[in-house]
């Protein structure tokens, strides 16, 4: 299934005791339909407050009409979580392990905005877009992202292959777009926080590279807030 959600009211994707998560509300809806607990697997987690336009999940259920299942789920789900597409997958499909890459967008509003306030980080100081674009290209050439990974992550390695890393401008919005084979915990928001510091002249490209080489996130500037971040697409073969 492809799932779109507004992360504002959720404590992220993954099930968590005492917190409402997106995974939980979808599993609860499935349990109502199938009268038995059904575990769903997503392409990856998203943090508290982060949105998704096309999160992909898989699960195993008895044969069902995908269109009717989608409709039934949307009837049960809260309005900030919607099933966009539902199809029968190959039996060896795995939402997480079959994924070849994921893309995220991060939206910066360079002027105050009322209509997009839930989905953008408002940054009013002057930004040098040329420098930010150059910094985004530098990010695209890196392979070790330990400096951008939350300290307590229990990953085996910090290697990521970046396929795209660039800024797109749309009127008074700057949208950072990044696609990679994998993302570490908190990575995109740490990158965006860093690129913004470069754009406002508080960090040079050289200093950014030094932080990356030292692999120490504690040297990084503040991370960007969750509300600007959207998991856009998950790519499969």
């Amino acid at each position: 299934m492809t799932v779109e959600y507004d992360g504002a009211n959720y404590f992220g994707w993954q099930l968590q005791k005492g917190q409402i998560t997106v995974q939980q509300v979808i599993e609860e809806a499935l349990k109502i339909l199938y009268k038995t607990p059904i575990r769903i697997v997503a392409s990856g987690r998203t943090d508290a407050g982060v949105h998704a336009r096309n999160q992909v999940v898989h699960f195993d259920v008895p044969a069902a009409d995908p269109f009717r299942l989608k409709r039934a789920l949307n009837g049960l789900l809260p309005r900030d979580v919607v099933i966009k597409h539902c199809v029968r997958a190959e039996s060896n499909f795995h939402a997480r392990f079959s994924a070849l890459s994921r893309s995220y967008s991060y939206t910066i509003a360079t002027n105050p905005t009322a209509l997009e306030r839930h989905y953008a980080w408002s940054v009013y100081f002057a930004l040098n877009l040329t420098l930010m674009q150059r910094a985004a290209e530098v990010i695209g050439r890196q392979t070790d992202f330990q400096a951008f990974c939350k300290v307590r992550s229990d990953v085996k390695h910090y290697e990521c292959r970046i396929f795209e890393s660039r800024w797109i401008t749309r009127q008074e919005r700057l949208v950072y777009y990044i696609r990679a084979n994998r993302f570490l915990h908190g990575m995109v928001r740490a990158i965006v926080g860093t690129l913004i510091e470069v754009g406002r002249g508080k960090l040079t490209l050289k200093e950014m590279l030094q932080i990356i080489e030292k692999k120490d996130r504690r040297l990084l500037p503040a991370t960007a807030p969750a509300r600007g971040l959207v998991l856009e697409h998950v790519y499969y073969d």
Copy 2:
């Protein structure tokens, strides 16, 4: 000033006893700054729940630095009302009477959406876009819009010159765009409600024309909900 607002939490633009309106919160902010009541004039009203991307207002105050005024107001206003631009106007400028035309957009989501649920009308039945486009062209050729005007409006005449009336498709969105010299009360939402009935095959183009000729809104299908409607631009000389 150019003002963007999310209309969801307001009882429309215009001051109204016992209700919170956009005009009221801006006038309250101005009163705090100037320590005296200041009346503002908008290009036109918007109804409860309707949004604006570029509403234009004027008011008379002692000379002030427009940039600082904008910043001070944004510091006082709630996050769903923002001042986008503030400039010193010619003394004969009038936000309403100097306006030559206004444009509105109305967004239809043809698939469920979580991220745009506050700004779109979700319409899931099959729509014939070709018919809707033809109906929009027919609307563009009309001059008397009494059939699309709320019954208790106290306007002197129902003539509107339409400069643009068309559907634009963007992925799973249909956006109706209309620009005219003036709009009657409830007019755009009544038009959109009608175009959707044409699109789903419940109303023929001929029947639509008959309703327009009869000038009786009570014959019209249901009006479209407020949340999809945005006042986009106001055009001056």
